[in-house]
Subunit: 375 residues, 3 copies
């Protein structure tokens, strides 16, 4: 038995809805990878750290032995149905609060539904680019668009727990750090609307930056996608260090900034959370994808990250299995890593338990202003 | 004993010939480093991870105790002679197939000779820049050079198992991703021939890119030097992520791309092999050079790399010792890493054995279309 | 007990003075971080790897139990007084030689005072930018400034053990590699003096480069800040690989170059020390800050760094506690790492002891021309 146990309760400060309907095997497998194409001939997405970790941790929640073949697991899933499968998996996680990015479309459960199914509290994170695209669909003119962006962000700040930006995907994190001028914003809005079809994506860096600064002004925590993701991004342009000048510019406002995912730049992100009081960091998405290596990635993050600056997230999306896999991997990695330091005499058990609770839930409660669990 | 043993048979999908003649101590030592100059005063290239690993694994193959002094080892090497030394070391490796880059000059054994000595099958990898330099030596005009490049690559595709590019050395991986136009190619060929002496190296980025796209059109797997190497390269311009836009451009052709070496960017390369179905990765060259740390570098690679996408190579060059050192380090690291995961309950033993075989040989057989061992 | 013990004696080849006067708790805590601002609300700089490591290793030197609360430790510090606290902590380190960067101001002890208190020999490292700023304070014209820079560097080379550059902070390591012309230097001196108030910092890249090349000409070892540090730098512009072309340009002079700190780019720095005979590397500053993870960072460095190229430093600054914490963490990490390789049969115990002594002191003695300990 480990000296320090995995935390029993977690706040998941960045996640997504899960599929509402039954999934084919191909669709299920597509959620196991960040690739946007079928697996290479002769290979399968189950032959990955995530595939193996899912087969370890999820079958027991559905009454099957760990590591059963994928086909048996999928058959059992079908037998139980989507709702019961989702309920069992989510209820096994120990998550008390879900901060749900609602910016993805595609038949996913709402935060309210996630709350009902999981028994956790759910809070909405508003994705800035999705908000802007909805505004563009509604706006009749550039001036109207600018007005809708302002009111949209203002209104969202009243209900959402945080904002999220995917400027890393849409442009790269190497954007100009200062706010654009009003004139630049109006011109960019004109250009965008002129060339846009309904539903068209926002990639204009002026408008992306304008959204960031509009969100910063509300003081709500601002999450950034950084590090790896699907092939829509160029990874070397998602190094969180590219945000350095923006972080310096935001610093006087006091607005909290949260660097999501961060892998393989998690040491760089940890440095930023060390150097800047308003910056926090995370290894969500990485944890389920690196599977048996979660402890090592966590350990690298805990080199420079102050213990009050790292938070747990799953970045689960589509499959409820990703929630359970992420929480099991993270909790176990955290417990074991700290146990090793305690057993070695490097840390006290009391300090280790306190730090485990900060990372699992305490830091997120403080940064996002959440009520205590069970309150 | 480890739960999962080192694989008994390996495909070495990227290696080079070994010296045909007896070596002085200084020449032997020069093969232990990527430096191109003598060791710093007061230091020796034997005082490296590679030096220590070689002293551990090679003396027993020549009938000496592991870790014997370098002088004893070199004396025994002289006593046995180059041919017998090479035979003993290569036959101890367990390699069944050698994919030999023949693009380096300097008194090295041919693939045929390597096959005879080792008892393995040998296949040729054609280095694009070497092919182009031979064409330039033969061409009387730019037009003739362009014709010779086309026919050279076409002919090579009929006999070679793969192509290799060292554009990382000659220019950097930050090249324009699209194919150059015919006019650009002709002009570049003119410029090169006009300024070139016989034997002159190709560094023109237009011609380097033209070679890449000519090779892609054949559909043979295309290997890239990425990551560290000798001081002729600038390491930060050899990050495989700089290939991202080129990989996207190649994707529709289906041509397999193989990222060689990759260290210290092996996590970045693993990401590319995760995100793109046609991309494969490797930690050759790194494994012998990091010695006792091979398990850790392998483990980092196996975070994001799908298990069907990583292949073994030695990148051995000059010394047959590098073949044996690389295979022993890699096989042992792989066996131990997977044993740890099995013993921890994270993987099953059956999955681990299957993955070990994929990485040691199965993936390379599939990617390069090799026959099964013993066939 | 470990097979290989921590080295009993160390050369600290890069460190700073410690505070001469009593410290408030807030001031003490400010030395535990590279941040330049108070800790985030609800957090403390004691909740870091450095904070925990300090609480482990320093209380026993002051007669308290390891891991006692910070408040108890600070009270004991006050009780003993600054001088006695400093004496006890420094004398427990095992350091025989201190190479002290005197370029920081702010009530710090001189090298002579450090020597008296610690019982070690102290040597001065002259910071080029501090020398230039003093010259600018004294110069009445650009011509005089140029003359003072030349004489200042020449004179310092007669007494200092090494030079140090913080061009990484002042500009970034992505500077033009060649020396500026005399005319460029005069113009830059003119510009700087025209716009400068007394005490103004040097950030002009032409003058920063001129200082580097003036120092190189003396042949004294030249240290560079690389890698992480306080928020005054942009970390991605402090990757030591950005020095590649400068290192190539310096190579013919034979002037030793030492890459300091290097984290999180320590593998990149290790590569440079592998590829270039005149380049040496270090993980000072990182070791105390990563605390319980020191072994892992050291291990990554010892992948490509030849064993004659890595040196110990603390980069201690302000607190004598940082000296003791850095030496305990480094010595123990080195002993344990090498013990693991010996116990595994990868290294012999004799080789391991020899390498431990090289890294702890032998390499620094050779590079800086220090006399043997006890001489």
């Amino acid at each position: 038995m480990d000296t320090i146990e995995a935390p029993a309760r977690l706040v998941d400060h960045h996640c997504h809805g899960v599929a509402r309907h039954a999934l084919t095997e191909a669709r299920f497998a597509s959620y196991l990878t960040e690739s946007d194409a079928p697996a290479a001939p002769g290979t399968t997405f189950f032959d990955t750290q995530l595939g193996f970790a899912l087969r370890r941790w999820c079958p027991p929640a559905l009454g099957l032995p760990a590591h059963c073949p994928a086909a048996d697991y999928l058959a059992r899933r079908t037998e139980l149905g989507t709702d019961e499968t989702t309920r069992r998996l989510l209820r096994a996680t120990g998550i008390t609060d879900l901060l749900v990015d609602t910016g993805l479309s595609g038949g996913l459960t709402t935060p309210a539904r996630l709350a009902t199914v999981s028994g956790a509290r759910a809070h909405e994170i508003v994705r800035l680019e999705t908000l802007a695209e909805a505004a563009a669909d509604a706006a009749g003119s550039a001036q109207e668009l600018v007005t809708l962006l302002a009111s949209g962000v203002h209104d969202a700040a009243g209900t959402a727990i945080a904002f999220k930006s995917v400027i890393g995907y849409r442009h790269g994190l190497d954007f100009a750090p200062e706010p654009p001028t009003d004139q630049e914003v109006r011109r960019a809005a004109d250009r965008w609307l002129a060339g846009r079809r309904p539903g068209g994506r926002l990639t204009d860096p002026v408008l992306l930056r304008h959204l960031l600064w509009t969100a910063v002004a509300t003081g709500r925590p601002l999450q950034f996608h950084t590090g790896f993701g699907d092939p829509d991004l160029r990874l070397h342009r998602c190094d969180p260090l590219l945000l350095t000048d923006f972080l310096r510019a935001v610093r006087p406002t006091g607005c909290p900034v949260v660097l999501l995912h961060t892998y393989p730049y998690h040491r760089n992100a940890a440095y930023l959370s060390h150097a800047y009081a308003h910056v926090h960091t995370d290894i969500g998405l990485a944890v389920p994808h690196v599977g048996a290596r979660a402890l090592d990635v966590l350990a690298e993050t805990l080199e420079l990250a102050p213990f009050g600056k790292l938070m747990f997230s799953s970045d689960a999306y589509g499959l409820p299995e990703l929630y359970l896999t992420a929480t099991r991997l993270f909790g176990r990695a955290l417990g074991r890593l700290l146990s090793g330091w305690v057993d070695d005499g490097a840390w006290t058990a009391g300090d280790a338990r306190r730090v485990a609770d900060l990372i699992a839930s305490g830091n997120a409660r403080r940064v996002y202003g959440l009520e205590p669990a069970g309150a």
